[in-house]
Structure formats: C-alpha cells, structure tokens
Amino acid sequence: MVPLSHVIWLSAALFTIGVIGALTRRNLIVILMSIELMLNAVNLSLVGFARVWGDLGGQVFVLMVIAVAAAEVAVGLGIVISLFRNRDSVNVEDVSLLKW
C-alpha cells in the first residue's frame, strides 16, 4: 500500500478544502456539501488507520459516519427548506437577525 502519511495528507487536504468551503461559500447548500466533504475526509483517515492497525473498528466507524451524514443532510436540508419558505433565500449572510 501507499505510505499512510500520503493518505493522511490527502484526507487533511480534503478536510481543509471542506473547511474553506464552509467558511467562504454563501450558498447554504454548498456549505452543507462542504461539511459533507469534511466528513468524507475523516472517513478516509479512518479507513487508512483501520488498514494500518488492522482493526475493523475504523471501518465500522466509517459506516456510522455515513449514516450520521445522511441524517445530518436530511435534517439540514429540511432546515434550509423551512428557512427558504420564510425568507426566499439560501444566502447564509441573510440569516443574521440574532446577534450581539
């Protein structure tokens, strides 16, 4: 297999891209996608570590993360929809009624 460090590099890079996406994009749906990307990056690390340690826990963890991600997306999109109904916008910067 390839050196684990390369896997980690890839995973970290994807995670960082996700973070950057979540920080900079204003479309709520894209932000959600970025968060999904972050979860996926973590999955990559988990699989890598599971491989290195020869431990199945990591892989089971990935399955759980996928389930959680699905749930998160469902709820997140529900929130976006309900917000869109009230505001007619998916721009995250429009959502700043509550502050200070």
Binding site: F15, I35, A41, E72, N86, L97, L98
Partner: protein
C-alpha cells in the same frame, strides 16, 4: 464469533426508557389522532398535548428512577464484558439522573408553552426523548464510536427542536446556525477522534489509555480536536458564539431543556474521555490544565461581560450559561476527584436553577409571543408576585448567593480549585461572578422596583408549569441548605454520591 454476544441489557435500561418513549409517543399520537374521546373525555388538542407530555415525562421518570437505583447500588455494569462500549456505573448513573431530571422538567415545561405558541405536535416529544437518549448514551459510553453516535443522536433532534417554531424567523435562524456550526464542530470532533484512533488503534477507552503516548503529536492533535468539539457543545469561548443566537431564537422551552442537558452531556462525556481514555491529565498531558485554565477564564469573562449589555432575558441567560460553563471548566483545571465531583454537583444544581429561570419566561409567554425582553419584567412583582419571587430566587441562585444551591455548587467547585493550588483562577472567577451579580439583579430590580409598563402578562400559570417551577424552587433551596439531604428513603445523598461517582474515574 458466531451468535449474539453475551450482553448485559440491564446496563442500558435507563437509556431504553426514553428510547422506547420516543417511539411510543409517535404511535400514541397516531392512535389518538383518529379518536374524538379518550377514557370518556373529549379529546381536545390541549388534552392530547398533556397526555403526550406526561407520557414522555413518565418515560424519563422511569429512567431517572432506574439511574437512581443504580446510583445507590453502586455497581459498574459494562454492556458487553469483552468490549464494554457502554458502562452503567455511578458516574454515568449520576449523569443520567441529571439528564433525566432536566429533560423531564423541560418536557413538562413544554406542554402548555407549545399550545400557547400553536406548535403542539407529538413529534416534539419524540425528538426530545431521542435527544435525551443520545445524551444518556454519550455519558455512559466508553468507546469513541458510541460517544460520536450518541452525540449526533443528541444534536440532530435538537437542531430540529430549535427550529420547531417553523413560521418564526428567529426560530429558523436559531436552527440553521445551530445546525451549521454544530455539524462543523461534529466534523472537527470526528477528526479528533480519528487521530486518537490512529494513534492508538482502538476506539475503546481502556485500550486507548493503555496505548496512548502522551508525547505523540498524533495523539495530542487528536485530543486537541476532541476538546474543540466538546468545547463547542459546552460553549466555551471562542466556540460559544452560537449559544446566544440559538438560545434566543429557539422556543423557550427548548432553550430551557437544551441549556441544561447538552451542557451536562458534553461535560460528562469530555470528563470521561479525559480521565478514562487519556488518563489523569496531570500525568498524561502536561499542559492540559493550562489549556483549560485559559479556556475557563476566557469563557467566564466573556460570558459575564457580554451578559451585562443584553436587553433580552433569554439572551442574557445564554451568556450567563456560557459563564457557568466557564466556571465548570475550572473543574478540569483542578484535575482532582473533589473538582470532578463538584462539577457533577454543579451540573445537577444548574439544571434546577436554569430550568427554573427559563421556566418563568415560559410561564409568561402569552398568545404566541415570548415575553423575554427585560422591559417585559417591569413591575412583575405587582402583576405576578409568585413568578417574580421565583424568578428572584433563581437569579439569586445563579448569582451564587449563599442559601441557594448555586452557592453550594460554587462553594464545592471553587474550593476544589483553591485546593488544587489555583487560587488566582478562583479570584478571577469570583470577580467575574461579581459582574454576574449585576445582571442577575437587574431582573429583581425591574420586577420589584419599577412600575408595570406595557401589556399585562399571562394571567395564570399552567399546572404543569407550576409543578416544574415549584420543583425547581424547592430543589434550589433544599440543595442550597441541605445538599446532602437523603431523598428517596434517605438513600440518595446527592453530595456524597457525586463524590462516590467520580471515584470510578481514578
């Protein structure tokens, strides 16, 4: 390898009640939906809500009783003897007790409030119970995987609960912000867990503890990111910013519920992780106490200072809850059994005083509108003397004035901090709490020393709300004067048990 593993089901009994309850609520609502009468009485919307609320409360109550029994009995039952995954010991029993009580109070508080707001649906109780189940798994979990799943089971329903008032922009915004920041934080936490896993090759706490090398950057980075994830949940500065927005925007009953339970679950889970997986921090990671000290100071200072300028009571209480989180973080600085026990007791006390404070706001909610601005409280002592007195009691307790549970909690915690030789932190903490006295006292000032202005508040209190408030008030006083009073046939001495329960962490 074949067949089902030999598991101890009784280990998860306290968590099963709310889980089953969550499903039962859905079923019962559907069953009741088609009927015009039930038990010979016409089935109004209000009555359905009451049935569902009480049903949920009963589920939680059973869980509390089970936890209390386990707490008194003091056994330590792993779910699976080979790889424990979840352990019902005194520590988790205590936390489950706290969570159960907090959820139960939040549940009862919701019934009439949701009706007032016109959003009374059975799904609410289902979500609340599911979240509570998640928390209970979190506090008993001794495996990173279960902690994560429990945490998500807690978070996701609460995102929904925060946005439960769908037509309300603030509620929407609350849910969205909580969700965005929350799932981001989950990802960070998850990354941290992964790194810990990578460093040790195991998700099981006991194994991790055996394998962890406290000098390895991999493990340290993992620990750091796990702390970040939990710091978000306990709203430690600088991960606190969602708190005021979410608390203010969410329906008040939800705020009451989540403000106490999420904090408890997160603190307890973090405590368990740090002690059982990482090991006693003093010996394991040298500069961990320093990190927590910095976090704690930042948190209680920022929380208290920001609370001063608020004009919305819920938002003020949000900042106050940030500040309380700051005090609680001091327990991690002390790293002594005394300090951890004090944290547990503090969390218990915090349930009563904070639910009480939010409960008063709930009891004032009128015709779909929250009366949560400071101005709404002017002259309340005239119009609603009972509620004003209760609110004063809760404020006094939150401020930590002796004679209330809030003081006993601070006494224990600060005492532990001082004994752990961190007197400077204790001084900072008390000075910060001096600031808090100022804003807590603003409510009594308004209620007692100003004339009523604007529209009159709701005229009467719902019975369930009344019960919750009275329970909270009694608890605040009893825990303030006799924290170790034996309840439940004299066996449940909470202060002793808090001390006994952290013994298993060492």
């Amino acid at each position: 390898m074949n067949g089902l593993p030999q598991v101890n089901v009784q280990a998860v009994v306290p968590t099963l009640y709310p889980a089953v309850g969550a499903m039962a609520v859905l079923v019962v609502e559907v069953l009741l939906a088609g009927r015009a009468t039930f038990l010979g009485r016409p089935l109004t919307k209000g009555r359905v809500a009451n049935y569902l609320g009480v049903l949920s409360a009963v589920a939680l109550g059973l869980s509390v009783i089970a936890a209390a029994q386990s707490l008194v009995a003091g056994d330590s039952i792993p779910f699976d003897p080979e790889s424990p995954m979840f352990r019902l010991d005194r520590f988790s029993s205590f936390a489950i007790l706290v969570l159960g009580v907090g959820s139960m109070l939040g549940c009862l508080l919701s019934v009439n409030y949701l009706l007032e707001l016109g959003i009374s649906h059975g799904e609410y109780y289902c979500l609340l119970l599911a979240a509570t189940t998640g928390m209970m798994f979190m506090v008993g979990a001794v495996d990173l995987l279960l902690v994560f799943v429990g945490l998500e089971l807690m978070s996701i329903p609460i995102y929904v609960l925060a946005g439960f008032q769908r037509r309300n922009l603030r509620s929407n915004e609350s849910a969205l912000k909580y969700f965005l920041v929350g799932s981001f934080a989950s990802a960070v936490l998850l990354y941290g867990m992964t790194l810990v896993y990578g460093a040790t090759g195991s998700l099981d706490y006991a194994t991790i503890r055996g394998a962890i090398d406290p000098t390895s950057p991999l493990a340290l980075a993992g620990i750091a990111l796990v702390i970040v994830g939990f710091a978000f949940k306990v709203s430690a500065v600088p991960f606190h910013q969602w708190t005021p927005d979410v608390y203010e925007g969410a329906p008040t009953a939800v705020t009451a519920y989540m403000s106490v339970t999420v904090k408890t679950a997160a603190f307890v889970a973090l405590l368990r992780f740090l002690t059982e997986a990482v090991g006693p921090p003093a010996s394991a990671v040298a500069n961990l106490p320093g990190l927590f000290a910095a976090l704690a100071v930042l948190t209680f200072v920022v929380g208290n200072v920001m609370a001063v300028i608020q004009s919305n009571v819920k938002r003020m209480l949000a900042y106050s809850s940030i500040a309380h989180g700051g005090y609680l973080l001091l327990g991690f600085v002390a790293t002594t059994a005394e300090g951890y026990a004090a944290m547990l007791f503090y969390l218990l006390v915090y349930v009563f005083m904070n639910v009480g404070a939010f409960g008063v706001i709930v009891a004032l909610a009128n015709q779909g509108r929250d009366t949560d601005r400071f101005d709404d409280f002017a002259g309340l002592a005239r119009t609603r003397p009972g509620l004003a007195a209760l609110m004063t009691l809760f404020m006094v307790s939150l401020a930590g004035i002796p004679g209330t549970a809030g003081f006993m909690a601070k006494f224990g915690l600060f005492s532990a901090v001082v004994r752990a030789q961190h007197v400077g932190l204790a001084v900072l903490a008390v000075l910060a709490s001096l600031i808090s006295v100022y804003y807590y006292l603003r409510l009594p000032v308004l209620m007692y020393m100003r004339e009523p202005a604007g529209e009159a508040p709701r005229a009467e209190t719902d019975a369930l709300e009344g019960i919750v408030l009275v329970i909270c008030a009694i608890a605040v006083l009893v825990l303030g004067f006799f924290p170790n009073l034996g309840i439940f046939l004299g066996e449940l001495r909470l202060l002793d048990l808090a001390r006994a329960s952290v013994a298993s962490l060492f």
